[in-house]
């Protein structure tokens, strides 16, 4: 397998060096940036496979990096990383186009898996993000666009299993699906999250302020 070219964007040196040593030789870390201003030209220049993106940066959120880079570099995939639980921040970065969200307490092996998955174009749902999405699509208010504002039963089942700590492969086994199908469901959820009624989600996030 060819090694993914990765750019790290995080304002904490300590965290960047930790990630570098954890990912080790498995990926090629081609660049690092500590701010939005530094990250945008760097990513444009390097055109990496994956950008590991801190949700919080001193000169703006991770979503600002995606918004400035994505139109010109559609092949670059972003994976959001955070210690924060504020739902608005996570919503912003996912909506901007990140392929997933993991917390910084993630183990090295899981992070590597998440990077590979991101490079393959799959959605990466941590248990926390799954819980957050389930909450966001909680039934209650009538859907504005049923295609986008409602999760299918299958999607809901998949998300619940992710929230319970199951991996895609285990979920596939449990629901008698292929891993590819599980990935398809998760990607569909991500797409809904990115396209569904923005107003509703933002209002929801403001009310909850928590995942």
């Amino acid at each position: 397998m060819s090694r993914s070219r990765v750019v790290l964007v995080d304002d904490h040196d300590l965290f960047r060096s930790g990630v570098r040593s954890e990912l080790g030789e498995a990926v090629e870390i081609v660049g690092e940036a500590a701010s939005v201003a530094a990250a945008v030209p760097l990513i444009r220049e390097l055109d990496p496979d994956v950008v590991l993106l801190d949700v919080h940066l001193p000169d703006g959120g991770g979503h600002a990096v995606i918004a400035q880079v994505a139109p010109e570099r559609p092949g670059v995939r972003f994976l959001a990383l955070s210690v924060s639980d504020a739902a608005e921040d996570v919503i912003d970065v996912i909506r901007a186009g990140a392929r997933g969200y993991v917390t910084k307490s993630i183990s090295g092996a899981d992070l590597l898996d998440a990077v590979r998955r991101t490079a393959d174009g799959d959605a990466v749902f941590s248990p926390r993000l799954a819980g957050f999405v389930l909450d966001a699509f909680r039934s209650g208010a009538p859907p504005i666009d049923p295609e986008l504002d409602v999760l299918t039963t299958r999607e809901r089942e998949v998300l619940q299993l992710i929230a319970r700590g199951y991996r895609y492969k285990e979920i596939a086994g449990r629901l008698h699906l292929s891993v590819k199908t599980v990935e398809t469901h998760v990607s569909a959820v991500l797409r809904k999250l990115q396209l569904s009624n923005r107003h509703e989600l933002t209002r929801w996030a403001a009310e909850r302020r928590l995942i």
Partner: protein, 369 residues
């Protein structure tokens, strides 16, 4: 912001009595110096004023009391106050001597006293001083406006407006500065609270981490606990009130983490208020988490709390070695009593599944009994 925002600009900048060059107490020499004129001029003025009912003599004594010498300590506040009173009296005498009527002198005295009182103060003295000024202005306008002479009435009104023009900007600036000061004070309080919080929690944790750096598991537990506490403080959401299922499970998870040193990754959606039945599911979940922490050998436990429309569900999962539920001796109270029995009593279910991949306990409870 200046150190003392309420001071009126001084009429005499840096006025000091020049005892060395003075003839009596150095008052006139000092005034001359601070105004940049020959001391003869103030001396002449005081001498002239002495003829106006003795005002010059009283004024000189007042200045001697109130003004600090170039060398030596500033006057005590009592001495200073006495001096200022003497100056005010001198002013009143002088005005009378020049033929001004009482209707000008008393308001002027009140206004002057008010300004002196308000100067350099805040709070009650400031309000009292400004009130005195206001009363002075009112008396002045009242007494003069009722005079039969329309020109006198006009003049007094003009004088009142002029006074307002002089004092208005000052009062305005004062109010603005008070606002700025209040904002600053609030910010400072927030800062102090933040510092206290960081000191009580983060610094203590860091100290513990240094001492226990040989035990990675203990260090991880300390870090998790600190993270949880800080997060609860930074993002106080609806879960933080402490009355619902979500926060009760969170507390239970924290206890298990601390007791057994295994991190619990907690995910929750929705919340319900606690009652007897909901408490049962919390206690059962706590037992399940404690079992997983103690016996599974896993280095992390995943707990998912799902509040559905009809049903509450809690899933406790570990990736430990798993075990054969049938092989657990019947006397083992944990699973039989604390989990299954507890759930059954409130009409819920507990399902345990275990394999080489790990163990999961599913607790389910219908919301309506």
């Amino acid at each position: 912001m200046s150190s003392d925002p309420y001071r009126l600009p001084l009429a005499f900048p840096r006025l000091r009595r020049s005892e060395d060059e003075g003839a009596v107490a150095g008052v006139c020499a000092g005034i001359g110096k601070s105004l940049g004129v020959d001391p003869t001029l103030p001396r002449l003025t005081f001498a002239l004023l002495a003829f106006a009912g003795g005002a010059g003599i009283v004024a000189y004594a007042g200045a001697w009391l109130a003004v600090a010498a170039e060398q030596g300590p500033p006057p005590s506040s009592r001495r200073r106050l006495l001096g200022l009173v003497a100056l005010a009296v001198a002013g009143a005498i002088a005005l009378r001597g020049f033929g001004f009527s009482d209707s000008l002198i008393w308001p002027a005295a009140l206004g002057g006293a008010g300004i002196l009182l308000a100067r350099g103060r805040s709070g009650a003295p400031l309000v009292a001083g400004l009130s005195l000024v206001a009363v002075g202005v009112f008396l002045f306008v009242d007494q003069n406006a009722t005079a039969s002479d329309p020109i006198a009435a006009f003049e007094s009104s003009a004088a009142a407006i002029a006074l307002l023009l002089v004092l208005g900007p000052w009062a305005w600036r004062l109010a603005a500065e008070r606002d700025a000061e209040r904002t600053g004070r609030i910010r400072q309080q927030e800062r102090a609270e933040m510092a206290a919080r960081v000191h009580d929690s983060v610094l203590q944790t860091l100290a513990l981490v240094q001492r226990e750096s040989g035990d990675p598991r203990r260090v991880a537990t300390l870090a998790r606990r600190q993270e949880r506490a800080l997060r609860a403080w930074l993002y106080p959401g609806p879960h933080a009130e402490g009355a619902g299922l979500a926060s009760a499970i969170e507390v239970a998870a924290a206890e298990v983490e601390e007791l057994h040193g295994v991190p619990v990754e907690l995910v929750r959606t929705g919340d319900v208020p606690l009652d007897e039945r909901v408490e049962a599911i919390v206690l059962a979940a706590r037992e399940a988490m404690a079992n997983a922490a103690q016996h599974s050998g896993a280095n992390e436990i995943s707990t998912f709390v799902d509040v559905g429309e009809d049903e509450l569900a809690v899933f406790v999962r570990d990736r430990g070695g798993g075990f054969d539920p049938g092989a657990v001796p019947p006397g083992a109270r944990g699973i039989a009593e604390s989990i299954r029995g507890r759930m059954n009593r409130v009409g819920g279910t507990a399902v345990l599944s275990s394999s080489a991949e790990g163990t999961e306990v599913e607790l389910r409870l219908r919301r309506q009994p």
